[in-house]
C-alpha cells in the first residue's frame, strides 16, 4: 500500500501529465447483458506499439455475476492525490473501481502485480452498496482529493427518489455514505466532475432508472421528461449552489468536461438531442458576475434520411439525430472530441477559444444510415463513435461503439456487436482513423476505455499548467 515516492503516474499539472510516456494497455468494459448469458468483463487491450500482440485483446477478466452492465469505471487514485490540502501522494493508482449500473454491485479490481492480468480483490454486493450509500445504479467514478466519488442514478429504495453522489474511502474501499448535505430540488443524476481549486462540483442529468433500464421511453422524450439541467455545488460544504435549466427541449444533458487547468473556470457539457429538431449540442459553462451561465457553443444538426432505412423509433421523423453521447477534452484543454453516435462520426473541435469552437477534424465510422466500415472490418459496422478516451499526450484517441444495452437495440436493432478503434491526431488539429487498429469483440459490446497511468477524463489537477 505504501510507496516511498509518489506514484509516477501522478502529475501536479495537466501540462506535466502530457509529457507522460505513452500508454501500453487499456482496460475496456465489455458487456453481455441482453446478448447472452455470460457475465460482463473487464478486457485488457495491448497498446504497446513494440509488442507482438499490439492492438489485440490480450486478457479477459470475467466477472462472477451475470447482468451487472458495466459502465463508467475508473481508478482509485489519480493526480488529485497531490492536491495540497490533504495530500496522500503515496497512494497507488492500482485499483479499478468498477460499478455495475444495472446490478448496483461494485467491484474493486487490482491491476497488480500483472497489469495485463487484473483480478478482483473485493466485491460490494448491491444490498450493501444501497444500504450504505443511499443510492442505486452507480455510474461515474472520480478519484477525489479526499475520497472516491461515485455518482448513482437511482435512490436506494426504488426508482423515485433522487439520484446523487456517494463517497467511498480510498484506502479501505468501504462505502462511506451519501455526499450531499443540501441537495435543493436536484432529482436526476448522471455525470459529475469539478473545479477543485474553486471548490465547485458540477453534476448533470440523464433520467430516472425507469426511463432508461428497459430502453428509451419515446413518450417521455417527446414530453421533455429527460434531464435538461446542470447543477453547480459547493464542493466543500456539499450543498447545491445553483441549477441552470438550458431549456426542456434539450434532452439528456450528459457528459461534463471541465477544463483541466485549475485557473480556467469553464467546461463543456454535451446534450444528446433536441426535441425541436433532433439536433445535438455542446454547451459551455462559465461564470459571470458570480453566477454560472450556460451558452450553446456547438450545434450539430440532424440529417434527413429515408424512413425505410431508419429503426422503428426514428421512422416517423425521417431523419437521423446526431446523438452526442460522449465528449472528451484533451489535457491541454485545446481539443474537444464529440461522439455523434447516431451519425457515425467523431468530431474534433479546437476549443482554444471556448466560446468559438472550430471544427478541425472528422472521422466517419458506423452510423445508423451509413454503417461506414473500417478498413479492417468484415463489412458495414453497426454502432458509432461512443465512449471516447484521449491519451495523456493528446496524440491518440480510442473509442468504442456501445451506448447502453437496451438503447443499442433501439437505435441499432440489427444485433450490434462490439468494436474498438483508434484515431491518430495531427499536431495542430485534424485526425485520421488508424487503418490497422480494429478490435472486433464479437457479439460482446464495449463501453468505457481506461488507459494505463490515466487518460484525459480521469485525472484532476490542483496546480496550474
Amino acid at each position: 500500500m505504501a510507496l516511498w515516492k509518489p506514484d509516477p503516474s501522478f502529475y501536479p499539472s495537466a501540462k506535466m501529465a502530457m509529457q507522460a510516456p505513452p500508454e501500453r494497455h487499456a482496460y475496456v468494459a465489455a458487456l453481455n447483458h441482453g446478448r447472452n448469458d455470460k457475465p460482463d468483463a473487464i478486457c485488457v487491450v495491448d497498446l504497446d506499439v513494440v509488442s507482438p500482440t499490439y492492438g489485440q485483446l490480450v486478457y479477459t477478466l470475467e466477472l462472477p455475476n451475470v447482468g451487472d452492465e458495466l459502465h463508467h469505471f475508473s481508478w482509485n487514485a489519480c493526480s488529485s492525490a497531490l492536491c495540497p490540502q490533504a495530500p496522500h501522494p503515496h497512494l497507488e493508482r492500482r485499483y479499478l473501481i468498477v460499478p455495475g449500473m444495472r446490478s448496483s454491485r461494485l467491484y474493486i479490481i487490482d491491476t497488480r502485480p500483472d497489469p495485463r492480468a487484473p483480478k478482483i480483490t473485493k466485491v460490494i454486493e448491491p444490498e450493501d452498496v444501497m444500504a450504505r450509500s443511499g443510492y442505486s445504479r452507480p455510474h461515474t467514478i472520480h478519484c477525489g482529493p479526499d475520497a472516491i466519488y461515485i455518482s448513482a442514478l437511482g435512490s436506494a429504495n426504488g426508482d423515485d427518489g433522487p439520484g446523487g453522489i456517494f463517497l467511498m474511502d480510498h484506502f479501505s474501499f468501504e462505502v462511506i455514505g451519501p455526499w450531499e448535505i443540501h441537495r435543493g430540488d436536484q432529482q436526476l443524476a448522471y455525470d459529475f466532475w469539478w473545479h477543485l481549486a474553486e471548490d465547485v462540483l458540477i453534476s448533470s442529468e440523464w433520467a430516472k432508472p425507469g426511463q432508461f433500464e428497459d430502453g428509451l421511453v419515446p413518450a417521455d422524450l417527446l414530453g421533455n421528461q429527460y434531464g435538461h439541467r446542470i447543477h453547480f455545488w459547493d464542493l466543500r460544504r456539499r450543498k447545491l449552489l445553483q441549477s441552470v435549466d438550458i431549456g426542456a427541449q434539450h434532452q439528456m444533458l450528459l457528459e461534463l468536461r471541465p477544463a483541466h487547468d485549475p485557473r480556467k473556470n469553464y467546461g463543456f457539457a454535451g446534450v444528446v438531442v433536441s426535441t425541436e429538431d433532433l439536433s445535438a449540442s455542446i454547451w459551455m459553462w462559465h461564470q459571470q458576475d458570480g453566477d454560472w451561465r450556460m451558452r450553446k457553443v456547438i450545434e450539430i444538426p440532424a440529417v434527413e434520411a429515408d424512413p425505410d432505412q431508419l429503426p422503428p423509433l426514428l421512422k416517423d421523423f425521417g431523419a437521423v439525430p446526431p446523438l452526442v453521447t460522449d465528449i472528451d477534452l484533451s489535457l491541454d484543454d485545446r481539443f474537444l472530441y464529440v461522439s455523434c453516435w447516431g451519425l457515425g462520426e467523431l468530431h474534433q473541435y479546437d476549443v482554444s477559444d471556448p466560446l468559438v469552437p472550430k471544427l478541425t477534424g472528422k472521422v466517419q465510422i458506423g452510423g445508423i444510415i451509413n454503417k461506414t466500415p473500417h478498413p479492417q472490418s468484415a463489412g458495414p459496422l453497426l454502432g458509432g463513435p461512443q465512449m471516447v478516451e484521449i491519451s495523456r499526450d493528446g496524440k491518440r484517441v480510442y473509442f468504442t461503439n456501445s451506448l447502453y444495452s437496451t438503447w443499442d437495440d433501439q437505435f441499432y436493432p440489427e444485433r450490434m456487436g462490439g468494436w474498438m478503434v483508434k484515431v491518430d491526431v495531427h499536431q495542430d488539429g485534424g485526425m485520421a482513423l488508424d487503418p490497422d487498429f480494429f478490435i472486433d469483440f464479437g457479439e460482446t459490446r464495449v463501453h468505457q476505455v481506461r488507459l494505463e497511468g490515466g487518460d484525459s477524463s480521469t485525472d484532476s489537477f490542483c496546480y496550474p499548467s
Binding site: 516511498w4 515516492k5 509518489p6 495540497p84 501522494p89 497512494l91 466543500r236
Partner: protein, 227 residues
C-alpha cells in the same frame, strides 16, 4: 549539552514540521500559483504558521496545567504512553488525514486548516517531551536557588519561569517551521518547479509516524530518569 537538548529538539521538530508538504508550504504555494501572485505565497504562510503555533502552544498549556495537578514524573509517563499509543496508531494509519476539501480559502480558513492538520497529526504531542524537559530544567534552576523555604511565593515564580521557557520554546519551534516552509516554498517556486514533487516527495506521513515513536522512546527514557 543537556541544557540545550530540548531547545534543539524544538528547533529540529520545527524544521521537520515545516518541511512536510502536508503542513502548509505546498498549500501556500498552490494558492500563489492559482492567484498568479507570489505575494500570496508568503502571506499565506503567516496564518499557517499561526495555526501551527496554536497547536504547539496548546501542548505547552497542557504541560503547565498538568504540572499543577500531577508530578513531573507522572506527567512524563503519561506523555510517553500517549505518544506511544498515538504513534502506534499513526504507524498503521500514517496515510490518513483529516478530511478537508476546500482550496478556495481565506486567511481564517488557512489558520483553522493548519491548526487542524497539526493537531490531528500530533504535532503538539510530538514536542511534549521537549517541553517537559524545559519545565524540568526551569524547576531545577529554581531549586538551586534554595529560595523555596525562605520565600513562600517561590512556587509561583517557579511556574512563571517554566511558563516563560515553554512559550519561548513554542516561538523557537514556530520560527524554525516558518523559516523552513519559506525556504522550501521559495526553492520550489523559483528554482525547481513543481515537477520536483514527483521525484523528491518522500513519504513524510510514514516518517512522521516514526518521529512520533522516536519522541515516545525519548519520553520513556526521560520518565525512567535515564536521560
Amino acid at each position: 549539552m543537556a541544557q540545550v537538548a530540548p531547545w534543539l529538539a524544538m528547533l529540529g521538530f520545527g524544521a521537520f514540521h515545516g518541511l512536510n508538504p502536508g503542513m502548509g508550504w505546498l498549500f501556500a504555494l498552490s494558492l500563489g500559483l492559482q492567484q498568479r501572485s507570489e505575494k500570496v505565497i508568503w502571506l499565506s504562510l503567516l496564518p499557517i504558521a499561526a495555526g501551527h503555533a496554536l497547536a504547539i502552544a496548546l501542548a505547552a498549556v497542557l504541560v503547565l496545567l498538568g504540572l499543577r495537578f500531577i508530578s513531573l514524573g507522572q506527567l512524563q509517563w503519561l506523555t510517553a504512553f500517549a505518544l506511544f499509543l498515538f504513534g502506534l496508531y499513526k504507524l498503521f494509519n500514517f496515510y490518513r488525514h483529516p478530511r478537508w476539501v476546500g482550496m478556495k480559502v481565506g486567511m481564517g480558513d488557512l489558520f483553522l486548516w493548519s491548526f487542524l492538520m497539526a493537531t490531528a497529526h500530533g504535532a503538539g504531542l510530538m514536542v511534549m517531551p521537549a517541553l517537559l524537559r524545559m519545565a524540568e530544567q526551569q524547576g531545577m534552576a529554581q531549586d538551586l536557588d534554595l529560595d523555596i523555604v525562605q520565600h513562600p511565593g517561590a512556587h509561583a515564580d517557579h511556574a512563571l519561569a517554566a511558563g516563560g521557557a515553554l512559550w519561548l520554546g513554542v516561538g523557537v519551534h514556530t520560527l524554525a517551521m516558518v523559516a523552513v516552509m519559506g525556504v522550501t516554498a521559495w526553492l520550489v517556486y523559483r528554482k525547481f518547479g513543481l515537477a520536483i514533487l514527483r521525484s523528491r516527495w518522500i513519504n513524510f506521513d510514514l516518517i512522521w509516524a516514526i518521529a512520533l515513536m522516536i519522541a515516545a522512546a525519548a519520553a520513556f527514557l526521560a520518565a525512567m530518569g535515564v536521560v
